[in-house]
């Protein structure tokens, strides 16, 4: 008799444990306000990334098309996997001296691992991260970007 009671008790406990689980899923079934799915392309307008989000490396320019990059190459040295390549040129300053300046700051987004070492070590704070995250392109060559805009100049007062 005792074994039969144990057998029945086992069944009841098992069913009870199953019902507890069903309670959880059942609860969420009737709670449509707890749905966490985001409808992505539709919510693009009000989708705000966090300000520190590492989307891609950019070089901020001011309204006079000036940037802060002196072309020193520290970011290139610090980059762990050769994402950044700096092509510098020498220009004549106003007082007639030759000076190194940036010609092209090449950034290969496809190789970047977003370690933030370039942004962190830049002595003149010329680099920053943008919050852009839609990087998909059809041609891999488009992932190679030149960060300084054409015709841009070094900001005054940055050495």
């Amino acid at each position: 008799m005792r074994s039969i009671i144990k057998y029945l008790k086992e069944i009841v406990m098992a069913v009870w444990s199953l019902l507890k689980g069903m309670k959880v899923t059942g609860y969420y079934f009737f709670q449509p306000n707890k749905i966490v799915t985001q409808k992505y392309p539709e919510n693009r307008k009000n989708l705000v990334m966090f300000e520190r989000f590492k989307g891609e490396v950019i070089m901020p320019h001011n309204e006079k098309n000036e940037h802060k990059c002196t072309g020193c190459g520290i970011c290139e040295i610090n980059c762990p996997n050769g994402t950044i390549e700096i092509i510098s040129k020498s220009i004549l300053t106003e007082d007639g001296k030759k000076k190194r300046a940036i010609d092209k700051h090449i950034y290969r987004l496809g190789m970047c691992t977003f370690c933030a070492l370039c942004v962190k070590t830049c002595p003149s704070e010329a680099l920053a991260f943008s919050q852009e995250f839609e990087h998909a392109v059809f041609n891999r060559a488009l992932l190679i970007k030149v960060l300084n805009k054409p015709g841009s100049q070094l900001m005054k007062g940055v050495e």
């Binding site: 199953l18 069903m22 969420y28 079934f29 449509p32 707890k34 749905i35 966490v36 799915t37």
Partner: protein, 358 residues
């Protein structure tokens, strides 16, 4: 209550007047075949959609929402995709059996639908052994699954098929016994008679405790018989990738896929018919006003609502529980369901004998 019998009678007479009896029967069969095929496809598509939505809501998701309003046309888009997808030829597979297997599976579920009474006077064939017919035919699907596993020349498929064989053979027993419990109460195997017998109250209420136990056992066993979670060992995507239909693609895979959902629909409608009164409306004792309102709802709607309630229960199981292991699956059947069932049959027989049911 709306009766389909005069309508079908009228069609029958018209056809018999127009042509010879032989051709009349042929045309009738064609009409029934096409109707069932249409119904089959529609219900299949809707069930796939419903399963996606139900599981999505249980998992805090939205589910399909891109194709059409609320993603209603998602399954149709999927069907089109499946029709267009390449049928990947399998090297060293047994070609004939490999191609035959999906047809066996789908024919089995297709045949079972014939005996189900959808509404008063609306069934393809009213066999006097209706329940036996349905059990027998739906068990045929396992042959297709075994063939699919064997012919695919894939080790995972074979394991899946063997599991499925062991599973369906043993759970068929519980399905049969739990239905027999209700046959004792109904006193007939003819599905229309069973439904008519529930005019004064559904069997699940009439047969009180044993009927309720039989209902639970039937739910568990039929979930297992249709290879659905938590008994989806034959597919077991985390163990056997996709089990017996690993190697199938395109429309052949769609057959398996559709058959799974239709089998679910069929066992749900059997449960609705035998336990929940089929197309009979819900009546409460002497509340005449309430009963009249219930009668106003067409029987077909009653049938669909009850069936989908059972389908929802089965989906709820699937999306809550982890999967069983093969030995636990057999333990559940032989150590728990079968003894409970046998005792239950005895109790039911005793109750019917003493007239203790309502």
């Amino acid at each position: 209550m709306f009766d389909f019998a005069p309508l079908t009678k009228w069609i029958d007479t018209v056809l018999h007047n127009a042509m010879s009896p032989f051709w009349a029967v042929v045309v009738e069969m064609l009409i029934v075949g096409v109707l069932i095929l249409l119904f089959y496809a529609l219900i299949g598509l809707f069930l796939v959609y419903a399963e996606r939505k139900v599981c999505a809501f249980m998992q805090n998701r939205l589910g399909p929402n891109r194709v059409g309003p609320f993603g209603l046309f998602q399954t149709i888009a999927d069907l089109v995709k499946l029709l267009l997808v390449e049928l990947v030829p399998i090297r060293n597979a047994d070609k004939f059996l490999f191609n035959l297997a999906p047809f066996i599976v789908i024919t089995a579920s297709f045949m079972a639908i014939a005996a189900i009474p959808f509404a008063k006077g609306l069934h393809a064939i009213d066999l006097n052994i209706g329940i036996f017919y349905v059990i027998a035919v739906s068990a045929m699907g396992v042959i297709g699954i075994l063939l699919a596993g064997w012919a695919s020349n894939n080790k995972y498929s074979l394991i899946g098929a063997m599991r499925s064989g062991a599973q369906i053979v043993s759970y068929e027993l519980s399905v049969g016994l739990s239905l027999i419990t209700m046959v004792i109460l109904a006193g007939s195997m003819q599905l229309s008679v069973i439904v008519e017998g529930q005019a004064t109250g559904w069997f699940i209420f009439k047969g009180h405790i044993p009927a309720f136990i039989a209902f639970i056992v039937f739910l568990v066993a039929s979930t297992a018989e249709t290879n659905r979670g938590p008994f989806d060992l034959a597919e077991a995507e985390s163990e056997l990738t996709a089990g017996y239909h690993t190697e199938y693609s395109g429309i052949k895979f769609a057959f398996f896929f559709l058959a799974e959902y239709m089998n679910m629909f069929i066992v749900a409608s059997i449960a609705a018919t035998v336990f929940l009164g089929g197309w009979m409306p819900f009546h409460v004792g002497n509340w005449d006003g309430f009963n009249a309102v219930m009668d106003f709802i067409p029987p077909f709607v009653w049938y669909i609502v009850k069936t989908f309630f059972v389908v929802f229960l089965m989906m709820w199981f699937k999306w809550t529980f982890p999967r069983l292991r093969i030995d636990q699956l057999l333990t559940l059947e032989w150590k728990y369901l079968l003894p409970i069932n046998l005792v239950n049959v005895l109790i039911m027989a005793f109750i019917v004998l003493m007239g203790w049911h309502f």
